[in-house]
Amino acid sequence: MSNYVQLLLSGIAVGSLYALIAIGYTMVYGILRLINFAHGDMFMMAGFFLIYIAAIPNMPIWGALLLTIALTVLLGFLIERCAYKPLRSAPRMSVMISAIGVSYLLQNFATYFTGGLAQAYPAIPLISNKIEIFGVSTKLITVITPILTIILVVALVLFIKYTKIGMAMRAVSKDFETSQLMGIKINRVISMTFIIGSFLAAIGSIMYFSYYEQVSPTIGAMPGLKAFVAAVFGGIGSIPGAVIGAYLIGICENIIKSFPAIADLSNAFTFVLLIIILILKPNGLFGEKLSEKV
C-alpha cells in the first residue's frame, strides 16, 4: 500500500513540474505557432543560476530564489528579442531552426561555464525537509509542488481571462493578423508570453532540482520534450489540457519505473503516447480544430 502511495505522490510531483514547463510551451505555440525548443534549456539555465547565486557569500536564500527567477525571465525575454523577433515574417521553419540553434547555444554555453560536470543543487531550507504522510517518508517538496502548481495555474487562467493583456493574448492566438489590425501591440504580447513562460519554468526548475538535487548542461532536454508531449496531449494552446497531460505523463512514468522489467522504457512510453495521440486525436484532448485554408 505505502508503495503505491509513494508512486502516486512522486508521480503527481513530477507531473506538476512537467505542467509548469508545459504551460510555457503551450502558450508560445498558441501565439507564435513555434515549438520553442530552447524552453527545456531555459529550465536547465535556471537551475545553474540558483547554484551560482546561492554560492555568493552572505546571499540569503530568498534573495537567491528571487534573483534566479528574475534572471530566467530576463533570459527568456532576451531570447525572444534576439532570436525570434528578427524572424517574425520568415517561414515558420526558420523560427524553429532558430529555436534549435538557441538550444544548442545554451547547452554549449552551460557546458563551457560549468565544465560540463553535473553540480549539486543547494538544499533550500524548509522545502527540502523530510515529512511523513500516509506512512510514507518524503520531502516536503513533493507535497508543496502540486499545491503551488495548482495555485499558479489558476492564477494564470484568471490572468488570461480577466486582464487586458490576457485578452490580447487570446486575441493574438486566435488570429495574429487581425489582432494586429485591431491595434494590439503584438510584440508586447509576445514578450509577455515569454516572460510568463520563463517565470513558470524558473519555478519549475527550483522545484525539480530540489527534488533531483543535480544539474547538468543537457538535463533540460528530456523534461522539456516530455512537457512538450504533455502540451500536445492536452491540445496545444490549452492550459488546462497541458496540466492534465503533464499529470498523466508524470504518474504513468512513475508506475512504469516501478516495474523492473520495463523500467528502462519509461522515456519511450512518453513518446509512444505522443505518437498514439497524434494519430487518434491530432488536436489533443482540448485542442481547437484548425482547418487548413486552400
Binding site: 544548442y104 554549449n108 563551457y112 497524434l278
Partner: protein
C-alpha cells in the same frame, strides 16, 4: 562556358580530390586531424544530404535522423562482430544471441535496409501529420529507438547500454568517400528523376501537387524511406569511423547538428550540404580547437578561452548564420562552373552595383 570545358574542369577537380585523398592515405597525414575531419565530413555529408532530401526537397520537416543512424550503426555492428570476439563484447550476456558474422558490404546494405523498414513502419502513422507535429513525432521516434535499444530485455541482441566494439572497420580513408559518393550520386539521380520533381512539387504546395495527380502519401513515404535508408548507411559508416558504437551518443543533439549543417549549406542544395558538412566538422573538431586552450598574445593572456569555449563561439556563429544569412552558403542553388565563373566576374554583386550607380549618375 562550353559544355566540354565544364566536363573537363569537373574531371580535373575530381581527379585532384582523388589524388589528394590517395596522397593523404599513403602519407603520415593519415592519422592527422585533416584526415579525421575528411572522413567524418564525408560521413556527415551523406547524412546531411539524406536529411536535405527530406527537409529541403520534399518539405517534410523530420527530426528523426539520429534514430535512423542509430538503427544503421547497431545493425552493422551486430552483424559484423567476429564470432570469436562476441564473448568479450557481450560479456554480460553470454556472448549474445547472434552467433554469426557477415562481410562488411552486405552488412552496410542491410544496415540501410533495416533503417528503411523502420521508416516505413513509422511513416504509416506519422507522415499524415503536418509540419511541426511531424518534426516532434519523428524526434519522439528517435528517442523511442534509443530507449528500446538500451532496454535490458533486448540486451542479448543489442548489448543493452554497453558499448558494441571489435567489428571490422575500414583501413583506407577512401572507403567512406566511395560509399558516401555512391549514395549521394544515387540521391542526385533520384532528385533529377520524375520522382524528384514530384517531391519538389509537394514541397512547393501540397494541395496543388495533389490536384496535379501526384500521389501525396506514396511520394512522401518514398522520400522518407529513401532518406532513412541513407541515414542508416551513414550510421554504419559512423560506427566504422568511431570503431565502437553506443546508443547514448545518438541523441537529438546529433539530429540538431545535422539539421544545422543542412541549414548552413542551404536548404535544398546538395552541394551546399556537402560543403557545409566539411566546414562544420573541420571547424568543430579542428579550426576552433585553439579556443579551448589558454593563449597568450605577448604577455597578455586572452580572457575567456578554456575547455568548451570553442563550442560557444561555434554556436554563436551558427546563430548568426541562422538569423542573418538564412539562405546558407548555396541557397537552393547547386555548385556549377557557370556560378563560379560569374562569381569571379562579379563577386557579391559589387561590380554590377558600382555599374548601376554609375548609370544613375549619368542619367541624373
Amino acid at each position: 562556358m562550353k559544355k566540354n570545358t565544364k566536363i573537363i574542369a569537373s574531371l580535373i577537380l575530381a581527379a585532384a580530390l582523388l589524388g589528394l585523398l590517395i596522397f593523404i592515405d599513403n602519407s603520415e597525414l593519415k592519422s592527422s586531424m585533416l584526415s579525421t575531419c575528411l572522413q567524418k565530413g564525408a560521413i556527415y555529408a551523406l547524412v546531411a544530404v539524406s536529411m536535405n532530401l527530406l527537409n529541403g526537397f520534399t518539405g517534410l520537416f523530420s527530426l528523426g535522423q539520429a534514430g535512423f543512424m542509430l538503427i544503421g550503426a547497431y545493425t552493422y555492428a551486430i552483424l559484423t562482430i567476429p564470432v570469436a570476439s562476441r564473448a568479450s563484447v557481450y560479456q554480460y550476456f553470454d556472448g549474445g544471441v547472434v552467433q554469426f558474422a557477415i562481410p562488411v558490404l552486405p552488412a552496410i546494405l542491410i544496415a540501410g535496409l533495416m533503417a528503411a523498414v523502420f521508416a516505413a513502419l513509422i511513416g504509416l502513422p506519422v507522415l499524415k501529420l503536418k509540419s511541426d507535429y511531424l518534426a516532434i513525432a519523428t524526434l519522439g521516434f528517435a528517442e523511442i529507438i534509443r530507449a528500446v535499444i538500451q532496454w535490458q530485455q533486448v540486451a542479448p541482441l543489442t548489448n543493452g547500454s554497453n558499448m558494441l566494439r571489435a567489428f571490422p572497420t575500414y583501413s583506407s580513408i577512401l572507403f567512406p568517400f566511395i560509399i558516401s559518393g555512391i549514395c549521394i550520386a544515387a540521391i542526385i539521380l533520384l532528385i533529377r528523376s520524375s520522382y524528384g520533381r514530384a517531391f519538389k512539387a509537394i514541397r512547393e504546395d501540397e494541395i496543388a501537387a495533389e490536384a496535379m495527380g501526384i500521389n501525396m502519401f506514396k511520394h512522401k513515404m518514398m522520400s522518407f524511406v529513401i532518406s532513412s535508408f541513407f541515414a542508416g548507411v551513414g550510421g554504419a559508416l559512423l560506427a566504422m569511423f568511431q570503431s565502437s558504437v553506443q546508443a547514448k551518443g545518438f541523441t537529438s543533439a546529433m539530429t540538431y547538428e545535422i539539421l544545422l549543417i543542412v541549414v548552413i549549406g542551404g536548404i535544398g542544395s546538395i552541394t551546399g550540404s556537402i560543403i557545409a558538412s566539411f566546414l562544420f566538422v573541420s571547424s568543430m573538431e579542428w579550426w576552433l580547437r585553439f579556443l579551448d586552450e589558454t593563449q597568450f598574445i605577448g604577455d597578455f593572456e586572452v580572457p575567456l578561452l578554456g575547455t568548451g569555449f570553442r563550442m560557444v563561439v561555434f554556436s554563436v556563429v551558427i546563430m548568426i548564420i541562422v538569423l542573418f544569412w538564412r539562405r546558407g552558403i548555396m541557397g537552393n542553388k547547386e555548385f556549377s562552373w557557370d556560378g563560379i565563373f560569374k562569381f569571379f566576374k562579379d563577386p557579391f554583386g559589387i561590380v554590377s552595383k558600382i555599374k548601376a550607380k554609375g548609370a544613375v549618375k549619368k542619367n541624373g
